[in-house]
């Protein structure tokens, strides 16, 4: 028992520590690449194609992650101002503007130095990806490859049963073949299909563990905070997708979470209310934002962020390594389509979470920077509230721009939300007592 406790002590918190180390090491590698003058592949979290780009030994840069880092390190405003001085409007995506500042200042970044792009590879999961890549095209005169992934036409995806799936898959596969030819021309390296098999198998191991981690958070108490811990997991999931280190990280994470559930250790000491988060977090005051919930016993057990920003890892899919390119295309199509659905039809997906995760409440956080995620939140909330009786909070701010984050106002709204949750619980308790008495 004593040995078990010792092991447990070491295990708890390991993923957070290790996640930080891995992300720092990843940035150190990028800094080295910048210093060596090596050009990078710039990609995005929704459909990064990391598995393919790694086979060409291209350093892979996630500008969204870079921008996020400026916000959590509380320097985003400096970057936003730089881009606004250059001409960009205060009303566009803050991630784009922080990256513009990074590009204008030759890769200067709080985590090190970001190499210049030699190619940009993007999907249409977010339209701003396309506009963003056009900026690099103009600044750096690099090839921009948009892998167009047709989304669900009506309602939510039925996976391979979607009408026209075969034609869409042919389209995505053809584009991947064209991307491979572009990468060969750019790097002078021949495409190595066996290396792709290897990176895909690592991504599959990562995906299996990722899904298990999400599943474990259905337990009470939930072993991880979907907002804070979840953001660390997403960082590793994206940066190290297709690598052995990434696969091992998530397998070890599952080991930690299994231990926590076995011993009843929750992410929050006092888990009074189980919450789901919809949108993108408030990074300019990330810690405080989370505390405003945790201080009142609100535990984030799930989030739409863990779906759409996971690059499809949330979806039960494994690659067929006997036909790796076609299978990569299929995974991309299913994953990006699923990510889009989880943003546009969040109400349907949340509805399935309510019972699975025993939700007490839902927090909607639309932001100025991201219209992909935010446009439909109010209407989805309205529609869900007509179908299910779950309290919700709607609080607007931003993921980058502290000028639109009002902490005091936010706190008032959050406090009122918890008062409502408490009153509701009390009412329910009273009516149950009455029922028993009868």
């Amino acid at each position: 028992m004593e040995r078990q406790s010792e092991g447990l002590e070491e295990l708890v918190g390991r993923a957070s520590r290790r996640g930080g180390e891995l992300v720092r090491a990843w940035y150190a590698d990028l800094t080295q690449a910048a210093e060596d003058g090596r050009g990078a592949a710039y990609v995005f979290v929704m459909g990064s194609l990391n598995e393919l780009l790694l086979t060409f030994d291209l350093p892979v840069v996630f500008p969204e992650v870079n921008s996020l880092q400026t916000a959590v390190r509380r320097v985003a405003h400096e970057y936003l101002e730089r881009a606004e001085d250059y001409g960009y409007s205060p009303d566009i995506c803050g991630y784009v503007k922080a990256d513009v500042a990074v590009q204008l200042d030759r890769g200067k970044h709080p985590m090190g130095r970001i190499p210049k792009p030699s190619i940009a590879v993007l999907t249409n999961a977010c339209n701003t990806y396309i506009k963003w890549a056009e900026i690099w095209e103009r600044l750096h005169h690099i090839p921009v490859v948009t892998v167009d992934v047709p989304g669900t036409r009506e309602g939510v995806t039925k996976g391979r049963a979607d009408a026209g799936f075969a034609e869409d898959l042919r389209y995505v596969t053809a584009q991947l073949h064209e991307l491979i030819a572009t990468c060969e021309a750019l790097t002078g390296k021949r495409f190595d299909v066996d290396r792709l098999r290897q990176t895909l198998s690592y991504a599959d191991r990562m995906g299996r563990a990722y899904r298990r981690a999400l599943e474990l958070n259905r337990r009470t108490p939930a072993p991880f905070n979907a907002l804070t811990d979840g953001t660390v997991y997403l960082g590793v999931a994206n940066a190290l997708r297709g690598t052995e280190a990434g696969a091992v990280y998530f397998e070890e994470l599952v080991e930690e979470l299994e231990h926590k559930t076995t011993y009843g250790i929750g992410a929050l000491g006092d888990e009074s209310y189980r919450l789901a988060f919809v949108g993108v977090p408030c990074y300019p005051i990330f810690r405080r934002f989370t505390e405003m919930f945790s201080e009142q016993g609100g535990a984030y057990v799930g989030s739409s962020y863990l779906w759409f920003a996971s690059g499809g890892l949330n979806r039960d899919f494994e690659h067929d390594l006997s036909r790796p390119i076609e299978s990569l295309a299929e995974g991309l199509l299913l994953g990006v389509r699923d990510a889009m659905d989880s943003m546009f039809h969040h109400d349907r997906l949340l509805e399935s979470m309510i019972d699975l995760y025993q939700l007490d409440g839902i927090v909607y956080h639309p932001i100025k920077s991201c219209r992909t995620v935010s446009t439909g939140l109010a209407d989805g909330r309205r529609a869900l509230s007509e179908r299910r009786d779950v309290p919700s909070l709607f609080v607007e701010s931003d993921m980058m721009d502290r000028r639109v984050v009002s902490e005091a106002q936010m706190k008032n709204r959050i406090d009122a939300f918890f008062e409502g949750l408490a009153a509701r619980r009390k009412r329910r308790g009273a009516s149950m007592a009455e029922e028993v008495a009868r």
């Binding site: 001409g87 339209n127 921009v144 036409r153 009506e154 026209g164 584009q175 546009f344 529609a383």
Partner: protein, 389 residues
């Protein structure tokens, strides 16, 4: 009897009266032409900005209606959206919520992050089908036209289901012929704007184009065939006004009064107002495979906008070509408030105009703005600087 005019005697009126009627129709947020079309038992397909292959709906006997927002307050729609959004998505939802427009099918496109949400929002609010037409966002793949042809075939099947009518190739060819004529007439209108801008006021040209999105296209053709020669026959000569290109009206539209204000201050010799209705720049033509022809025209023979990325069409170069093609001396570079693609493009446009030495005025617009004194003053100063430079 058509839906353009209730009395159906418009051909007997003066040109000025007909143009006034056109402007009234376009400004009317209750879409009376669409309502009249429905009264005849017709079905309506509403398609959001920018481009939509209207021929497919037309061939099935439906009225394709261009959803371009409206100058009204989104009283019902406001609660369905957050704060940081352009106006057009709100007023587009407001139209059916307020009962101004009744649709049988709604189609949105992945033109921007806000618009892609509209199909889901419509599906939560209305019983009729709502979907996204996935126009390709990789215009440069060798497989793109094949994909788009398949996507149009899928759309055709959905349109047939709503219209309760199967389409033949010949139906599509006939519709393409109607739309080819419409494209030719609209090109004629724009040639007039470029060559003799004093004979057609900016707001009249705007209204004539906008009506394409709310009339059966045969009627629109008839209207243009009647109006264009009468405009061309107008006399007068060029005044000492700056010839400008207006860029920034590809999605959310400038309010009519803003078009008037600009038209009073300068000659708008080219623009991207309602560019989706003029997106195909040439005839589609009569072919064995009409869907393939439509797909190919979209990829190979089309205009440009901030929401289509095509390596062969760098947008700033396309804008410069538009300026040169219209022999314009300046550009009004607008963007709708909160419009991510428009505001982002504005930076590149401004830089390229600066480099090319083309004077430009940067401004923001909103479809339901009501005060124009600020922009009027901006414009006057801009124009005076150019005229007396």
């Amino acid at each position: 009897m058509g839906v353009f005019d209730e009395a159906d005697d418009w051909r007997e009126r003066t040109l000025e009266d007909v143009l006034l009627h056109c402007r009234d129709l376009v400004e009317d947020p209750t879409f009376p032409t669409v309502a009249r079309f429905r009264e005849t038992g017709g079905k309506v397909l509403g398609h959001f900005q920018v481009y939509f292959p209207e021929e497919i709906a037309h061939a099935a006997g439906m009225l394709p209606v261009k959803l371009r927002g409206a100058p009204l307050d989104p009283d019902h729609a406001e609660s369905r959206f957050g704060s940081y959004l352009c106006s057009i998505v709100k007023t587009t939802l407001e139209l059916p919520l307020a009962g101004h427009l009744k649709l049988d099918l709604f189609v949105s496109h992945p033109i921007c992050d806000a618009a892609r949400n509209l199909a889901a929002i419509f599906s939560r609010n209305f019983a009729h089908p709502s979907q996204i037409l996935y126009l390709p966002q990789n215009a440069n793949s060798s497989h793109t036209v094949t994909y788009l042809r398949a996507e149009y075939a899928r759309l055709q099947a959905d349109v047939e289901a709503v219209a309760e009518r199967a389409l033949t190739h010949e139906d599509l060819r006939a519709s393409i012929a109607v739309f080819d004529e419409n494209r030719r007439l609209l090109r004629e209108l724009y040639a007039l704007k470029r060559e003799r801008p004093w004979v057609v006021a900016a707001e009249d040209a705007y209204a004539l184009v906008a009506l394409a999105g709310m009339l059966p296209r045969e009627e629109h053709n008839e209207l243009l065939r009647w109006v264009l020669p009468r405009l061309a026959a107008r006399g007068g000569k060029a005044e000492d006004r700056v010839r400008v290109v207006f860029e920034g009206g590809f999605c959310e539209q400038p309010p009519f009064d803003l078009v008037r204000v600009i038209g009073r201050a300068c000659y708008v010799v080219d623009d991207d107002w309602l560019i989706g209705l003029r997106y195909l720049t040439d005839d589609v033509g009569r072919t064995d495979d009409p869907l393939h022809a439509l797909a190919e025209a979209y990829i190979e023979r089309s205009s440009y906008s901030p929401v289509q990325h095509d390596l062969r069409k760098p947008k700033e170069e396309m804008l410069l070509a538009r300026v040169r093609g219209a022999d314009a001396g300046a550009v009004i570079l607008a963007a709708a408030k909160m419009c991510e693609p428009g505001l982002e493009e504005q930076v590149a446009y401004a830089q390229s105009l600066e480099a090319a030495g083309v004077p430009f005025l940067v401004t923001e617009l909103e479809e339901n703005m009501t005060s124009f004194s600020g922009i009027e003053l901006q414009l006057e100063t801009f124009v005076e600087n150019l005229l007396f430079a």
